[in-house]
Amino acid sequence: MQAGGSREQEARNYLEKHRIMELLSYLTSALLFFRPEKPREYLISILERLRIAKITGVAFPFFMDHSNIVAMFEMMDTSSKGTISFVQYKEALKTLGLLNKDEVLIDDGHIITLDKFRAEVNKRTEEIWSSF
């Protein structure tokens, strides 16, 4: 039905525009990781902080901070050469939920250093959070 189809499209656009799925994914991960006694109150507190962060422009504390990114990089870079392979880089981004499903990363042949990895993770996280 025409009406049904367009409302469905509207709904999909809405999800995309406000990045609802990423937000829900983040909330669910936070719940499962911290396992608070009172899940609703905990979710409300995260959402309140997010709302305030948006209004005041203060940076929201992300899931992964600097030390986590370094730790993750070191776990992948088992021989401590200071770089990781392209496949590892792509998988890491996927694990963190920072890679869109149909996005295709192009291997430009350059090696991926810690700085480049960190910059990319931060850039993508920023992008997602700014649209909440």
Partner: protein, 479 residues
């Protein structure tokens, strides 16, 4: 982190927490509301939604032909669940709503309710505080397909829809005995539901429109409409036969509205089967393992495997086997936790039987973090157990197991040479059963969410019961 070389191990506390707190359903409800209303500012909307905490309030629609007793059922459900009743009449009643005044005028003029007005009235009513906090029960609305579609379009979705049904002749006759109490608005019946107090009896009035002809006309109208409304609620509909005492109808309706529907939440079954010897635990466990890919963990088997495999546990256990003494709990726990913490158990779920035997073992199992999420008690009367176990025989030549009643040997020659396991004599079985029942009460108390299954039937019937117990969400105990 590096998923390319080693698979991720998710700590089991996470899925357990997710199951207990119904995290999936929580998120699903929030997403549904977001998609229906599509607020410009999703975050404040989500905060309000979470604060309302009304995912589990009743949202019920009751439909049925005239004289089916739907108003009575609706009122009883309302009282029992402390919810709000919405009927065509009381939607138009509020004095302070301009919309209701417009609706009343329209009804007086046209003798019929306009669909748009009705739907807007419902929307307004549902936004009030008491409907948000305690849910709502719609009695007889939607009456036509247009109404059903309009309600759906503005985003009102019931969680349970009950349709009462009865043969027309019964309904026409029933309607003739209908009486109404003008003070409380409750409906009584001259034969089926007569009020005991004589003062109520005296003030009952005969309502208009109950002659045979009028009822028949209303029924015709009802049948024409209901056939097009019911397909709008495919998964949440339940049809209840109204041609029974109204108490029965009420209890069926109450049980239904208190069950949750199956959701798509990820669920790894961790099943515990309890029962005396001969109740069929091993058989059911094998069937479950085969159909659902669960890991069949038989405690006794595990211990024997450890001994046979001559692992370090095996060496510890061996002396107990030799002396025919019970293996101490600590060793059993170590062997069991080693098995249950392996990747295949965590991923696919498990079926445990033969353990725990008493309260201490059950508490130890819990403290190690391997709580089962479905527990079944298989009930078998003593005589059935004796019958099932004492008639077991073994053919020493082929190794085939027979049962003199359920699986008799094909030829007399085989029958002549069958042997019986000395553990299967009546005295031995009685001893073991006594031991089992001594611990049974404590275990029943400990596993309060357990389901009792009548295991005195053929194995496939029992299997179906257990299956439905695992697949459907745990029933909420009626307070």
């Amino acid at each position: 982190m590096d998923a390319t070389t080693a698979p991720h191990h998710i700590p089991p506390e996470m899925p357990q927490y997710g199951e207990e707190r119904h995290v999936f359903e929580l998120m699903q409800n929030m997403l549904e509301q977001l998609l229906i209303y599509q607020p410009k500012d999703p975050i404040p909307f989500m905060i309000t939604h979470l604060q309302q905490d009304n995912d589990n309030v009743p949202k019920i629609v009751i439909l049925g032909p005239p004289a089916s007793g739907k108003t009575t059922i609706a009122m009883w459900l309302c009282k029992h669940l402390s919810s709000n009743l919405l009927t065509m009449d009381n939607l138009m009643a509020p004095k302070f709503s301009s919309l209701a005044a417009v609706a009343r005028e329209h009804y007086q003029k046209m003798k019929k309710m306009s669909n748009t007005l009705l739907v807007r009235l419902i929307q307004e009513r549902l936004r009030e505080e008491d409907c948000i906090r305690r849910g709502w029960i719609l009695d007889g609305i939607p009456a036509t397909r247009e109404q059903a579609l309009m309600i759906q379009t503005i985003g009102i979705t019931p969680r349970h829809v009950i349709a009462l049904s009865a043969p027309d002749t019964v309904l026409i006759e029933r309607n003739l005995g209908k009486r109404i109490d003008p003070q409380t608005g409750e409906i009584y019946h001259t034969t089926f539901d007569w009020p005991p107090e004589s003062e109520i009896q005296n003030r009952l009035v005969v309502p208009g429109g109950i002659s045979e002809l009028e009822t028949a006309q209303k029924l015709l109208e009802y049948h024409r409409n209901i056939i097009r409304i019911l397909p709008a609620y495919p998964k949440i509909l339940k049809v209840i036969n109204a041609d029974q005492p109204c108490v029965d109808v009420f209890y069926q309706a109450l049980t239904y509205v208190q069950t949750n529907h199956r959701s798509n939440a990820p669920f790894t079954p961790r099943v515990l089967l309890f029962g005396p010897m001969g109740s069929g635990k091993s058989l059911q466990a094998a069937l479950l393992a085969q159909k659902y890919g669960l890991v069949n963990v038989h405690c006794g088997q595990l211990l024997k495997e450890a001994v046979a495999g001559e692992s370090k546990f095996g060496e510890l256990i061996q002396p107990y086997f030799q002396k025919e003494m019970a293996v101490p709990d600590t060793i059993i726990m170590k062997v069991l936790s080693q098995r249950l913490s392996q990747q295949d158990c965590i991923e696919r779920g498990w079926v445990l039987h033969g353990f725990p035997k008493d309260l201490d073992q059950a508490q130890m199992l819990n403290s190690l973090g391997y709580q089962p999420n479905r527990v079944f008690f298989l009930n078998v009367p003593f005589d059935s157990v004796i019958e099932r176990l004492t008639l077991r025989r073994l053919d020493p030549v082929t190794g085939e197991r027979y049962h003199l009643m359920y699986k008799p040997p094909p030829t007399l020659e085989i029958q002549a040479r069958l042997l019986q396991n000395p553990k299967d004599t009546e005295e031995q079985i009685k001893l073991k059963l006594d031991l089992f029942y001594r611990n049974f009460l404590e275990l029943e108390e400990f596993y309060r969410q357990a389901t009792t299954v009548n295991a005195d039937q053929d194995p496939y019937t029992v299997f179906e019961y257990i299956e439905s117990g695992i697949i459907n969400p745990l029933p909420k105990k009626v307070p």
